[in-house]
């Protein structure tokens, strides 16, 4: 039944699509997408208009008219977007297929089918991927999304390697390919072609660049480790600077002719590289700052503040294009620069909107790009086949990519802390995918100057298909076969798994203790500069204060509340916390185990619930069980233990937010982790504090409900994320046995006074503090809280009778 559903969906989808496309083509609508037909369409539409006009004047007033030409252009555009979307829907309906063949490959095939239909209907390819549409309307949003979602820290820490690959690697690819092809041409391997050395170099430059769209599309499903991914991805983004320069320089050379090239021109070419690259980045940077500034002031128009991001991002792209600088670099840096500030400045809902719309636009554009890449192939007019040229190009691209990667990595590894492994290098070489950018550049070639433009376009198409389809399909098996370190490490044993996390936490702690990251001179300087100048200008003042003081204030408030929470904990063994904790865990547990165990051993679960009163505990291996079923139990238990660990182990600071995914939009799950950890730490510290017998009633921690965890029931006693108040004498849990007295700590006068002074803190204030959030909105509540503290000190009341107020919030 399941299968039938799919089959029906496929059938329906394809029928719908065929209908749509034939409707479109049957109308003879010459789309503005295709430049060649634009002249024809005008004349045709004129013709139709006169026909209509002629017709209507004869028959009288028409009640309804079919005004196709009236809506032709936008209608076709919208229809194409719809078709692309429906194609994606049909493709994604079956996960088995998409896990083997990447979606981009399937979209290209879908494009083939559509192209075939259109060709069959029209005998000419009315719709192709033209450079204007591609470079102005389809590419910017993909790159903007890439820049906006870029993990900045990871990117900048690997910046050196990325730059080396992007600049030197691309130059090497271009030069080597061009020269080799020329050499083969001279050697006669390609037959009779009218291409000179310069044109070969031009061709080499346009096909040398690794394409970001293709890289995202293929790597997204593979989940390689983050360093590898950022190297390939970063390279694909930054090499645009080189590509633009090389392409323009060689195109100028081709126009000038070989005789005009002398040292001056070459030097000008090198200078133009620096100008283009840095200029583009600068433009992007400036626009990023503009966006941040604008969002700082948009408090009153929160409805549309998300729009500024997109408009200004697009403007950065166009501005760089206008100044003949690298547009991709501009928009990437725009996105990367403004990330932090717009996330801080804008309302949460606007931030969500921006994220979602970015993904939507980027995903949609990608889909359309791949579909049209497929359609563009079905065009007899452009096909020129030259076996030598094409095969040699494929071969050389492949080989030179590997050579370049290995050589550059060998050099880089001398300078890196963690050298890039051989396996990673192989994947990096294999991941040098070419994509639509190369095709767009190829179609930009001037036919007058370059006689063999069609051949180059065809070759580019074939290279793109090869890399996206074939390399895309084989990437996943290759990664698995070579056992590339993946982003999510598949552990073998439980100890390994646990220990892996321990290591992560350990390293983070050691870095914090030894201040290694903080003391890096340049980074320190940049952080200071950023904090003092940039944040001051670009972030809303309320947000800035928030970031600085939130930890301190929060901590103070929490400690006060903690002490007042004593009574509740003392009064009841199981406070609200425990109760809720067990309940939720219970539910999950039952769900997980019920199904599995009922199959294996229905009798066990009945036996074990004696002491727990309805709770089904995990059937531990230590219970007496039948020998045969024990293995079954062990296996399931093994899986379940692993599963539990996988699910519940704290991820640690390093691991979050590094997965760049086009299709997934991760809500920050690490927030609750941080809060839980902090709560636990503070609780244990305060417990040991309790044991120092200061005459203060032992406090239990509660923390404030910080971020958006409205779901968590224990909101009134939930999380905070603050740093330490060092003046408080704290003990850490490592001292074996709860609370070893240390007279040194007891002597501290100031805290005890404060403790006693603060002790009678009514939890009624908790209500006020409960909705505190670390977002821009709630900064006002801090002010409220601040003043409330000052006020409340005067009125001490024992908190013992205020549980209701606690429970309410």
């Amino acid at each position: 039944m399941y299968r039938f559903g799919f089959v029906r969906l496929w059938l329906l989808g394809s029928v719908l699509l065929i209908f749509l496309t034939s409707a479109v083509t049957g109308n003879n609508g010459d789309l503005a997408l295709s430049n060649q037909e634009s002249h024809q369409s005008e004349s045709k539409s004129n013709l139709n208009k006169t026909e209509h006009g002629h017709g209507s004047s004869v028959t009288g007033i028409p009640i309804v008219k079919f005004k196709w030409l009236h809506v032709e252009s936008p209608y076709i555009i919208a229809l194409w977007i719809l078709v692309a979307g429906l194609g994606k829907l049909v493709i994604e309906s079956n996960h088995h297929v998409t896990s083997v063949i990447p979606e981009s490959a399937l979209l290209i095939c879908f494009g083939f089918i559509l192209g075939g239909i259109i060709w069959g209907a029209d005998k000419v390819q009315t719709f192709t991927l033209t450079p204007v549409v591609f470079f102005f309307y389809l590419l910017p949003q993909v790159i903007l999304d890439a820049g906006y979602s870029m993990p900045n820290k990871l990117f900048f820490s690997n910046m050196g390697a990325i730059l080396v690959y992007a600049v030197i690697g691309t130059c090497w690819n271009a030069a080597s390919l061009g020269l080799s092809l020329w050499g083969c041409h001279m050697g006669g391997a390609m037959g009779d072609l009218d291409i000179g050395l310069l044109q070969y170099l031009l061709f080499g430059s346009l096909i040398a660049a690794v394409d970001p769209v293709a890289v995202i599309a293929v790597f997204e499903q593979v989940h390689v480790n983050e360093v590898l991914f950022i190297l390939v991805f970063g390279e694909s983004l930054l090499n645009d600077g080189v590509t633009v320069v090389l392409f323009n320089v060689f195109e100028a050379f081709v126009s000038l002719g070989g005789s005009q090239i002398d040292a001056v021109e070459i030097i000008k070419g090198i200078i133009s590289f620096f100008v283009v690259a840095f200029g583009g980045s600068l433009v992007g940077f400036v626009f990023g700052l503009l966006i941040s500034l604008v969002t700082r002031c948009t408090k009153n128009i929160q409805i549309i503040e998300a729009g500024f991001v997109f408009v200004l991002g697009y403007l950065s792209y166009l501005t760089a294009e206008m100044l003949s600088l690298s547009a991709i670099l501009a928009i990437v840096f725009c996105g990367m620069c403004c990330q932090k500030y717009i996330n801080a400045n804008m309302d949460e809902r606007s931030v969500t909107t921006v994220r979602f719309v970015m993904k939507l636009l980027a995903n949609g554009s990608e889909t359309i790009i791949f579909v049209f890449l497929g359609i563009s192939a079905i065009d007899k007019g452009i096909w020129v086949w030259n076996t030598g040229f094409i095969l040699l190009t494929l071969f050389f691209i492949f080989v030179y990519r590997f050579i370049g990667v290995f050589f550059l990595t060998w050099i880089l590894n001398k300078f890196r802390l963690v050298p890039i492994e051989f396996i990673d290098q192989v994947i990096m070489g294999y991941g040098g995918l070419r994509g639509a950018v190369a095709y767009g550049l190829a179609t930009l070639l001037d036919e007058e100057k370059i006689k063999e433009k069609n051949l180059m376009v065809c070759t580019t198409l074939i290279v793109v298909y090869f890399t996206v389809i074939i390399q895309g399909i084989t990437m996943k098996p290759l990664v698995n076969w070579l056992k590339v370190k993946k982003a999510a490490v598949a552990e073998v044993s439980l100890v390994e798994k646990v220990q892996d996390k321990v290591f992560d936490h350990l390293l983070v702690a050691i870095e914090d203790i030894s201040g290694q990251i903080g003391h890096n001179y340049m980074r320190d300087k940049w952080n200071n500069f950023e904090k003092n100048w940039m944040s001051r200008i670009l972030m809303k003042p309320s947000v800035r204060k928030n970031r600085d003081y939130v930890f301190k204030v929060f901590h103070q408030l929490n400690l006060k509340d903690a002490m007042s929470y004593v009574a509740e904990v003392r009064g009841e063994r199981r406070g609200s916390l425990e109760f809720i904790r067990n309940e939720t865990a219970l539910v999950n547990f039952k769900k997980k185990f019920d199904d599995e165990y009922s199959e294996i051993m229905p009798d066990i679960t009945a036996d074990m619930s004696d002491d727990q009163g309805g709770i089904d505990p995990v059937p531990c291996v230590s219970l007496e069980m039948h020998k045969q079923t024990m293995n079954g139990v062990r296996e399931t238990e093994d899986i379940n233990s692993h599963h539990l660990l996988q699910q519940h182990l704290y991820k640690g600071r390093k691991q979050h937010r590094h997965r760049y995914s086009r299709t997934h939009f991760d809500v920050n799950k690490d927030e609750s982790e941080v809060q839980e950890i902090f709560q636990r730490t503070m609780r244990s510290r305060l417990e040991s504090f309790k044991s120092t017998k200061m005459g203060v009633a032992p406090p239990k921690t509660i923390s404030k409900h910080t971020k958006k965890d409205q779901q968590q029931k224990f909101s009134e006693a939930s999380e905070s994320a603050s740093g330490c108040d060092t003046s408080f004498p704290m003990r850490v849990t490592y001292r074996a046995g709860a609370g070893i007295e240390n007279p040194a700590f007891i002597d501290m006068v100031a805290p005890s006074e404060r403790a006693q002074g603060r002790l009678p803190w009514t939890p009624s204030n908790l209500r006020r503090l409960a909705p505190l959030r670390l977002s821009t909105h709630s900064t006002d509540s801090f002010v409220i809280a601040d003043t409330s503290i000052a006020g409340e000190i005067m009125y001490p009341t024992w908190p013992g009778n205020n549980f209701e107020s606690l429970r309410k919030s």
Partner: protein, 193 residues
């Protein structure tokens, strides 16, 4: 770099420390600056609350244990030499051995693993008992996990690692269970100049 040589005089036993731990003088200087930064009261030694002043440690599930690892048995404070010795465990392994380097440097694989082992083994008896493992697990798992689940995981982990069936994990068993892990990679940080 001229100023660093004068500051090196402030560091007690700089030469010996460099020899023993393998840090360079620039590293040592940085670490000394950090030590002084953490040592708020300028006592020349660190106490636990100095460590706790590092705000982020409160967000670390095993922060308490790591702080504890700096203080050897029964000690209340840690001086610069001990501070550096502990941090030396986290240096990346030397690819080429210098002559005169100690035979068992702090950043050898065994020593690193020993450090990690001691994070579990709080009572210092050389074995990770089930209770100790449970404590670590409890610290590192989310609140949603019940006690029974934790016990089952701890049970399982001990079963997998415990080869001589004494219901505890000794150091050798620990080492064996982690033989596939690249310890050097997992336990090194880049010490910056």
């Amino acid at each position: 770099m001229g100023s660093s040589s004068s500051n090196m005089n402030h560091i007690p036993d700089a030469e010996e420390l460099m020899q023993e731990t393998g840090f360079s003088s620039a590293h040592l200087l940085r670490l000394y600056e950090r030590f002084e930064f953490l040592d708020r009261e300028k006592r020349g030694e660190l106490s636990p609350d100095d460590f706790e002043a590092v705000g982020r440690l409160a967000l670390n599930p095993i922060g308490g244990r790591i702080i504890g690892a700096f203080f050897s048995q029964g000690q209340e404070t840690v001086d610069f030499a001990s501070f550096v010795r502990i941090l030396a465990h986290f240096r990346p392994a030397d690819t080429n051995r210098r002559d005169g380097a100690p035979q068992d440097p702090a950043n050898s694989q065994t020593r690193k693993l020993k450090f990690a082992f001691q994070l579990y083994d709080q009572d210092g008896d050389g074995m990770i008992s089930r209770v100790e493992l449970l404590q670590v697990l409890r610290a590192m798992m989310g609140i949603q996990v019940t006690e029974e689940q934790l016990q089952s995981i701890a049970e399982r982990a001990i079963q997998e690692a415990d080869l001589d069936r004494d219901d505890a994990i000794s150091f050798d068993e620990f080492k064996k269970s982690l033989e596939k892990v690249n310890i050097d990679h997992k336990m090194s940080i880049r010490f910056l100049r």
